[in-house]
Subunit: 191 residues, 2 copies
Amino acid sequence: MELLKKRIREDGIVKGNDVLKVDSFLNHQMDVALFEEIGKEFLRRFDGCGVNKILTIEASGIGIACVTAQSFHCPVVFAKKSRTKNIAGDVYTTKVESFTHGQVYDVIVSTKFLGSGDKVLIIDDFLANGAALEGLIDLVNQAGAELAGAGIVIEKAFQPGGKRLRARGVRVESLARVKSMDEESGVEFVD
Amino acid sequence: MELLKKRIREDGIVKGNDVLKVDSFLNHQMDVALFEEIGKEFLRRFDGCGVNKILTIEASGIGIACVTAQSFHCPVVFAKKSRTKNIAGDVYTTKVESFTHGQVYDVIVSTKFLGSGDKVLIIDDFLANGAALEGLIDLVNQAGAELAGAGIVIEKAFQPGGKRLRARGVRVESLARVKSMDEESGVEFVD
């Protein structure tokens, strides 16, 4: 998606060789006009797949997921990161390791909002190691729902998540795939 | 907002006299078509106020804030709950006590995304004790930004937050104000 790559080149900040800060438009301050274009692009890629639910994980996926859901005319469910062991009511639970925060979270979704009739599109802002995405796929499987695929805004293609998930047969559509980056020359994308 | 009150009456679940679960459409599963109507109603109430930025707090405010921002044609900034003491870079910090989780959070916003040129509309899903909203107002004040007001989806008018903040001169616009509730008779709204 050229508009997104252009924005990353202009406003993304590279730290070292693996940190890409896009908090001015994607995941702290959020440019909802850009999100609308992102949502349309996800629809173009997953149109006709019968998606009836979008699943994301708090917090930075929620805005993109909600604006994307307007294009799909379906509801969003966001998985919650939980630090308390027992949640009232019935939930699907999985564990997700955050490499950024060096922590393992329990991630939960109420059984009321994900089930065998659902065809799910997972939306998230970043794909790197793939831990969050694998956790969300686990929740979809526990629910007996069908997975249409994953729509990712920025994939760090030099990290192993995308490759591993595609090898498992998951359809992963990333709008910008970063091949490499450094502080001097900036971001290089996969063609 | 009649559409919202109707939805709360139909799909809200009352527990005891003070818990209102609206997780089927507002803050776990999210009905983005309803969010569009909510966003239009916030615009109707704050139109002409010169709002150029919407501020919310993770996680459940983000979806509503993003869809509302489409009506205002402005970006969203979401305040982050932080458990780590020192964040890289310059941030405004405040403390918010969560009565639901019995915890005090540091809540932060990067100084890059809130400043003296901003006219801020705060958006959140619930107002009860007002702790989150007071924290967000503190961040706006630290930034030297101007506060247009707060747009709240559901106010528990029997709890003290709304009254205290209005007494301080904050413009609080709540789309559904709950006067009282119980498990048998359901939710009663302030006229």
